[in-house]
Every structure is written in structure tokens, then in C-alpha cells.
Amino acid sequence: MTPAAGAAAAQPAAREVPALDPMVPRLFRIERVRQEVAGCFSWHLKALDGAPFHFLPGQFNMLYAPGIGEVAISVSGDCRDSKTLVHTIREVGTVTKAMAALRAGATVGVRGPFGSAWPVEAGYGKDVVFVTGTVGLAPLRPLIYEVLNRREKYGKVIVNYGSRGIDDILYERDLHVWRGRFDLEVHVTVHTAPSGYRGRVGSVAAAVKISRFDGGNAVAFVCRSEALTWPAVQALQDRGVTTDRIYVTLERNMKCGIGFCGHCQFGPTFMCKEGPVYRFDTIERIFAIREL
């Protein structure tokens, strides 16, 4: 392998537009189903055609349960592993509940990857702050993996994660591993806990306030429900992180994934194409418009 080819293999280039017809699903087999927390599971998928699947952290796929329907789900695995596609899915509607009933060996359809990605290089030379909660850790996990793969390029790296209770902590094993690293600060906070609990109880925004980073030289990546994106941004701004260094991921009713159908329109943008990852200052004005 030439050095150039080796470098390319180390940092896989994702296809921003699928090479195949983006409306035709590729078939994948469910290799493994992992129950994460109540009502939330992960699929480990292998392509039936054996071809690799490349994506960038933050992108999503349209997952198809045959005969039921399609849903947009962020990729939550490692972007350097092009042989295994990982999705973490929460049971909320007809399609995802049908997906929860599928077992290893079942075949599903995948269209994608779609949408914008987290800008991994925006944090070079800066402190990196992740702010997320509950299942919001899933779209951020590929980015956290990638930041750790390139760890020497960043200053401090801090993960702020919140969940309802101690039984709802997603990817607890990852969080334990990350917490054990000397080059990573992890704050896990819960809304309520049993008496005697020594971990942190409170909001994620409160965890941001006590995190040790240089707000004047930090970049932040936020994945929260939209109602909580604003408190997270405010907490970061209070720490000196300006909105041109805050990236958020948003959620709308994605359908086609390629900006044709308009279901996911967000002001002048289509979230499936220009989003779901936005630099906050580029949407700050329209973020406050309730009608959008």
C-alpha cells in the first residue's frame, strides 16, 4: 500500500451523496441486537453485498423495515469501521416498534448516508466540549470516537451527559471507558437518584458550568432536544463559547433524505441536506422563530 493509500485508509472519505440511486435501499442483515436501556436498542448491520459503508460522524440513514416504513436514524458507530454499521434506535412509533421486534438475521433496508457532518477539524488546537443527554449521545458517539482517534490534535476534551436516572444511562460501558482515560473529562448527571448516590444530580447545563475548559478557545458540539438546545447554548455562552464555535444537531421529519420532498424544511434550509448539523450562529436567527 502506498503512503497516500495508507492515509486514506486511516481517515475514510465519506460519500456526501450516495453513489447508487439514493432512493433505493441497500440491504443489510442484522448481525446483532443489543438492548441499551429500556425502550432503546442498537443494531449492528452488515451489507448483504459485502461492500463497505462509509459515513461521516453526524450523518444519518433512512432505515427501512420491510412492509412497515422508513425512519431517519443517525449513525452511532465508528466511522473507521466500514464493515459494520451501527444504529441506536428508540422505540417511539409504529416503525421503530416494529424494528424493535426484529432479531439477528433479519434483513432491513438502508438509504444514506445523508446530511451534514460534525466538523471534526473545527476543534483542532482547541478544547472540545460535548453536551448531550439521554439518546442524544448516539449521534455524537461517532464524533467522540473520531476526536479520540485524533486526540493529540485537541486541547481538553469534555463530555457532559445527562439522563433521567441511573438506569437510563446510554452507552454506560463507553462512558466508563472514557472516564477511565486521563485525557478525557466526563460528567454524567442524572435528574434524580436513589439516596446515597455519589454521582452528580442536576441538569446538563449545570454540568457545563463546572466543566474545566477555556471558553475563549473551545468548540462545542450539542445534541439535545430542541427545547433544551437553547439552555445548552446559553450555558456555553456563559462560559465564553461564542455561537460561531457551537455546533448543534437538529431533528425534523426527514423523508426523502435528498432535499426533494420538503418535509424537513427549516427556514431556508432542508435539514436532510444542509443539516442536521448546523453551526449555531448560522441558524440562531431562525431558531427563535416559533412558526418554523
Binding site: A38, V201, S203, S225, A227, L228
Partner: protein, 155 residues
Amino acid sequence: MSASEMVSLLEGQGFFAGVPERVAAAIGELTSERKAGIGELLFRQGDPADRFFLVKSGLVAIELYAPGRDPIVVEQVYDGDVVGWSWLVPPYRWSFDARAVEPSSLIDIDAAALRERFGVDPILGYEVIRRFVPVMARRLSSARERLVECVTDPS
């Protein structure tokens, strides 16, 4: 500990930083130090709210008693923060339990006596209340944020 040492102790706490000397002296007269071991209750929901505490070191949990189940931790108080403000609000009874989760070193202030003095020394009352209001606002805001999280974020 002498009164002057107690005043310096109070002034060294973030909560009372910048408090006028006269006010610090007045509070210092009502102040004592206290240690709390793991699991020790500082106060119990429903009891008269006649004290408050500054946490010098350690960790104190604010718990909600729920009949038929274990107490639920709803808030935690760390170094430099204050425990208890029900003594400011009639009927002056604790709304929650407070329990030391780690060995804690506390400053214990006689809130009932302090409250009595507010009537004759409005400056004292103002200086104390202006420090408590941001704490109350912060905790209310935190509770609201978590309520929104419970409604909008999945479990």
C-alpha cells in the same frame, strides 16, 4: 472559635463574599461549625426550618421523601454552596430532607434568630436575602430544565 474568626470564616465562603463587616459580625454571632458523617440527616421534611448551612467541604443531597420507596435525591450541594432556604418562607418548615452523602464540614447558622433580627435590621435582611435569591432562582431554573428534559427527551 472567636467571633472574629467566625467572621473571617464567613467572609471566606463564596456565598457571603463581600458582605459588609457589620453584617458578617451579626451573622457570625449566630454561627457555629458542624461535622456531618455519611448518611447523617441535617434536617427532615416537615420539621421547623430554623437553620441553614454553608458547605465548607463534602457533599449534601437534598432528598424528597416518597412514601413506600427509598428517598429520591433531587439536588446536590457542593463546597461553597448553601443548604436550606425554607426558613425564609412561611410557614418555615423544611420542604425536603438534607443528608450528608460524604463526610461534610459545615457552617451552621441559627436562621430563626437571624430571621428575628431582620425586623430591626433591614440592611442585614437585605444582604442575606440578596444572596439567597440567586440560589433560589438557580435551583428553580434547574428544576424547570429537568422538567422540560423529562417532557421532551426520551427516557
